[in-house]
Symmetry: C2
Subunit: 268 residues, 2 copies
């Protein structure tokens, strides 16, 4: 079939999808600061590709890559209007590559950027991110959603409360149960670490949701394990100024593995 | 040289330029209404390509094509923010393909769209369009600029006055002198037709700038000639409720060729 016979709307859509993929191929997660700056001129175009819906996954992935470790880019991406269409992509659910990629991009945008953390919450991202968590530890969508919630919960009471109120704690505890070999469990421990930071309501809710036993289990992975490090952080925040939690953590057998971790830390 | 060795900024710029050209190739001046609608989804992306400056000429040409005969598209193009970057491209001057293409796009956007006519004036387009006129009848930039001013002068006193105040009348009269074989002269006659419409200050200024003799000369091209039709329109508006102009037009020998045109009209 010659190009003339393909309806123009379809040719335009395919062209835009290819363009998004080509721009995405010019990016990667490990770009240098100079490279990120070089690609920044494509940000407004990527955001329009995201909004238009043709090539949205590729555009979201490129945006994810451009947002990593670049405050300038994460601000430019927000200012170009990316957050609302990324949140819209989340709605496609855990079976959708676009939703997974959008959750990853929101993780990048929320990381180390308070303005973005608030803008992402205000755009309605928390409920669909929590819905993605339900897909469980084997789902990349759930892992990326947990990571986005981890960043969103950082240093902001409003977000910590909103994430709890949206029902995130129970499915994060389910992810913990996948154990130290699971990236999802590690990330869920990180999310709970931030959710428990100086937030008494969350400390109580996380204990009541049954997080302490699986967090203690993650400690067993030992020094050098990301899972154990994040679990130790979460248990530290849960016990801080909270005697009920301190007792529960002791009773769950945390002392011995924490001592092992501490000894490894002291010797390293 | 492999693609890896080309600096990333250059690769991104070249990619965006190619993308603009590919989108431009999916458009043309003679698209059907359905085709225009099919391409409308690319409008925000084209506007970003225009703003980014890589592939700006191709993006401006596509925008020109999409604006022809489509009120929906001309509104969408304005709302997507095209007018300011098109005006910025005009500044490159008559030797620049980008400026010529931008003038053409502004012509499309101003045509039959009052909101755009005002927005284009407010964005500061009139002075650089008048500057392009100075390149003379052999210049495509001057021809496109005259066409844009023609559309801008339609049905709006504010624009008619602003165009006169920016010094457009003298260079439009120069373009008239290129004669009926010149597209620039035909378009200049069209612009003067609109500038003289119910605007006494402009009627006087156009006569004083020496337009009447070259307009009468264009009449000689006879029925079927665009140049003669536009010149007759201009002379009609110049003479309307203005005895000084009526006398000057008579003295310049307009009656005989106007009678010829009228007779041809009556028989057609």
């Amino acid at each position: 079939m010659s190009s003339r016979q393909v309806p123009l709307a379809e040719r335009v859509a395919l062209t835009l999808e290819r363009h998004a993929k080509e721009l995405c191929e010019l990016t990667n997660r490990h770009m240098s600061a100079d490279e990120r700056e070089a690609v920044a001129l494509a940000i407004p175009i990527l955001v329009q590709l995201l909004k238009g819906g043709h090539g949205a996954s590729a555009a979201a992935l490129a945006i994810d890559h451009l947002g990593v470790n670049s405050a300038a880019n994460t601000n430019a991406i927000r200012e170009a209007g990316a957050i609302a269409p990324l949140v819209a992509l989340l709605q496609a659910g855990a079976g959708s590559k676009a939703a997974t990629t959008a959750a990853g991009a929101l993780w990048s945008l929320a990381y180390s950027n308070d303005t973005n953390r608030n803008a992402i919450r205000e755009a309605g991202a928390i409920a669909p991110l929590v819905a993605l968590l339900q897909a469980g530890a084997g789902s990349e969508a759930a892992t990326k959603a947990a990571a986005a919630l981890w960043s969103l919960a950082n240093s902001t009471d409003t977000n910590q409360d909103a994430i709890r109120e949206a029902g995130a704690i129970a499915p994060l505890v389910v992810l913990l149960q996948a154990g130290a070999g699971s990236e999802a469990a590690t990330i869920a421990a990180g999310a709970l670490w931030n959710l428990a930071n100086s937030n008494d309501t969350n400390k109580k809710a996380i204990r009541e949701a049954g997080a302490i036993a699986p967090l203690v289990a993650l400690l067993q992975a030992g020094a050098g394990s990301e899972a154990a490090t994040k679990a130790a952080g979460a248990l530290g925040n849960l016990s801080n100024s909270n005697d009920t939690n301190k007792n529960a953590i002791c009773e769950a057998g945390a002392i011995a593995p924490l001592v092992v971790l501490l000894q490894a830390g002291a010797g390293s």
